[in-house]
């Protein structure tokens, strides 16, 4: 088992080092949700009335509603960022070097996935700390019970990034990921509005949101912050993680001839 852990340690450390060296990335990862929280949510505070829906037991301000969605947003962007760096690694040849290691490919990809999830979680906790200083607090235990939800959601979104990276041929194509993956996933979810609110305007939009795995990641985080388990969302996220993971393994399958940059 030792080589497995050496690989795990090496890959996770590399991810962490890369993240620490890119201070701009860390700041950007925090600024994005904070702008949503301090500007967008504050502006909509009075405009959007929220009824009491589980896991909440009383009326809440919009800022309180939006925080789990912004935690999801951090993880979504981080997952995609990680996919971007995979494309870069492949262009630079370091990915090829990694995949030649005498270990199963799925393990190497999992290590990579875990590394990016740990980075995501560190970002989310920093964001929650700033939200706490702003006066948005959850039950103390909630900060602990949210951890498994963050791990699961991080793995799901990381796996999605991994799967996407196996199909993206060039770094320049990443803009397409932004337009066709990140934005639809974020806006067509329960991150900004509760699903019942979405149903008021369009049943179709509601149904799309309801099958969006990102919605379930956000709901998993929302319930976990209140020390509750949303079983449906848990199963949905697990299923999506398995599907995205399988797609990534298939995408990086050497028999398929891992897509090479042309030219």
């Amino acid at each position: 088992m030792k080589p497995y852990f050496i690989a795990l340690q090496a890959i996770v450390t590399r991810e962490a080092l890369r993240f620490i060296q890119q201070r701009g990335r860390f700041i950007a990862a925090l600024v994005r949700p904070l702008v949503w929280l301090f500007v967008f949510a504050a502006g909509f505070r009075a405009a959007l009335g929220l009824s009491i829906t589980p896991p909440y037991q009383t009326y809440i301000q919009y800022e309180t509603y939006i925080v789990p969605g912004l935690c999801g947003m951090i993880m979504l962007f981080n997952g995609m960022q990680s996919s971007l760096s995979l494309v870069y690694d492949r262009e630079m040849g370091s990915m090829r070097l990694l995949l030649t290691a005498p270990l199963p490919r799925w393990w190497l990809l999992f290590c990579r996935l875990l590394g990016s999830t740990i980075i995501s979680i560190a970002q989310v906790y920093t964001f929650l700390l700033i939200a706490d200083l702003y006066g948005l607090r959850w039950p103390t235990l909630g900060y602990l019970t949210v951890l498994p939800a963050l791990i699961l959601t991080g793995l799901m979104l990381g796996a999605l990034g991994l799967a996407l990276s196996s199909f993206i041929k060039q770094l320049e194509n990443f803009a397409g990921v932004m337009n066709f993956v990140i934005f639809p996933m974020f806006f067509l979810s329960s991150a900004l509005y509760p699903l019942w609110k979405m149903a008021e305007s369009s049943e179709l939009l509601h149904d799309i949101c309801a099958v969006n795995p990102f919605t379930h990641g956000v709901e998993l985080i929302r319930f976990a912050l209140h020390q509750q388990i949303n079983l449906q969302s848990t199963l949905w996220v697990l299923l999506a993680t398995l599907c995205f993971g399988a797609l990534a393994i298939w995408g990086y399958d050497p028999a398929r001839g891992m897509k090479r940059p042309r030219g």
Partner: protein, 326 residues
């Protein structure tokens, strides 16, 4: 320290859930539902509605006798003050209340009920033992808010249209003073051991504090809720914590309760509750506050130490008054 305060909150809530089981009689909060003609009874231990009792038409003000053996209900559209046995929920009898009774207050002697008759511009004094009207005192138009000083010397009526606080000498049952307040005074309470009188003005959006000795205004409290138009900030009911150092003020359609420092008269915090909050009642140890939210038809429970809403409980349509049954 947020972390510490959260731990305190968790502990307090756990205690709240555990403590009542040691009592034979569970603590209850009784809520009058104006549109349903009912009373919803909330168990303080479980924070759930355990009973719904029918009353006369349009129940608004409710209060228990000091020994909690009977409940008095202002059944406004039945033009009666009903007396209910809280054990059985049966109406024992009606008291002669005058027309359209809205709010009332029970004198410390546990015998004289001072009732505001909104349509008649009078305050009716009823002896609850003989069930007879002792006096009827002319006050301003649309009397509503009622209070009695802790020593029982003064009864107060506020009139919504005249914008006045009327001071009634309970010995002679006569008006001894009238003081102007801001537009539409809705509620009055004595504070600081009976040396201050606080009166809320719904349209004026203020809370006036009077010195009882001189009957002069000593402070005026104003409110400002972030993101809410000032017209919607309408103070109505309010209650004081056990040490009388803090007041919780219901701000009507702003959907917030203000936390006011009763020594400096400064607003320290605003708590989000249900829609159109009007009145409230504490539990016995004053650790929880229950607010009636008329439009949303629910009651929000506030953790007093944490100054945070912890739960909102669905009751009947248009909940109005609240009273504690220990």
């Amino acid at each position: 320290m947020p972390l510490l305060s959260n731990i305190t909150k968790t502990t307090a809530l756990a205690l709240c859930l555990a403590l009542p089981f040691s009592h034979a009689q569970a603590e209850e909060i009784w809520i009058s539902n104006e549109k349903d003609d009912t009373i919803s009874v909330i168990d303080v231990a479980t924070l759930e509605v355990v009973r719904t009792i029918e009353t006369g038409e349009r129940p608004r003000g409710i209060t228990f006798s000091h020994d909690h053996k009977v409940l008095y209900i202002c059944a406004s559209d039945s033009d009666a003050v009903q007396v209910m046995d809280p054990e059985t929920g049966k109406i024992l009898h009606d008291l002669p209340s005058g027309e359209d009774p809205e709010q009332f207050v029970l004198h410390p002697d546990n015998r004289h009920l001072y009732i505001a008759n909104e349509d008649d511009a009078i305050t009716t004094v009823v002896d609850v033992e003989t069930r007879k009207v002792v006096a009827q005192i002319d006050v301003g138009i649309e009397p509503e808010g009622m209070a009695v000083s802790p020593d029982g010397k003064y009864a107060i009526t506020t009139s919504e249209t005249t914008n006045m606080t009327h001071w009634i000498d309970t010995e002679t049952q006569e008006l001894v003073a009238n003081t102007l307040v801001d537009s539409r005074p809705r509620h009055a309470e004595f504070a600081a051991g009976g040396s201050e009188l606080w009166v809320s003005a719904e349209i004026g959006g203020t809370l006036s504090v009077f010195d009882v000795e001189s009957k002069a205004e000593k402070a005026k409290i104003e409110f400002e809720v972030q993101g809410v138009h000032p017209d919607r900030v309408q103070p109505v009911g309010f209650e004081f914590t056990g040490d009388e150092k803090t007041a919780f003020v219901a701000l009507g359609p702003s959907n917030h309760v203000a936390v006011v420092n009763a020594e400096t008269f400064e607003v320290e915090e605003y708590i989000l509750v249900g829609r159109r909050v009007w009145h409230m009642a504490f539990n016995t140890d004053k650790s929880l506050l229950f607010t009636t939210n008329g439009v949303s038809g629910d009651v929000t429970v506030i953790d007093v130490a944490e100054r945070a809403a912890v739960k909102t409980i669905k009751v009947g349509r248009f909940p109005w008054g609240a009273a504690l049954r220990p």
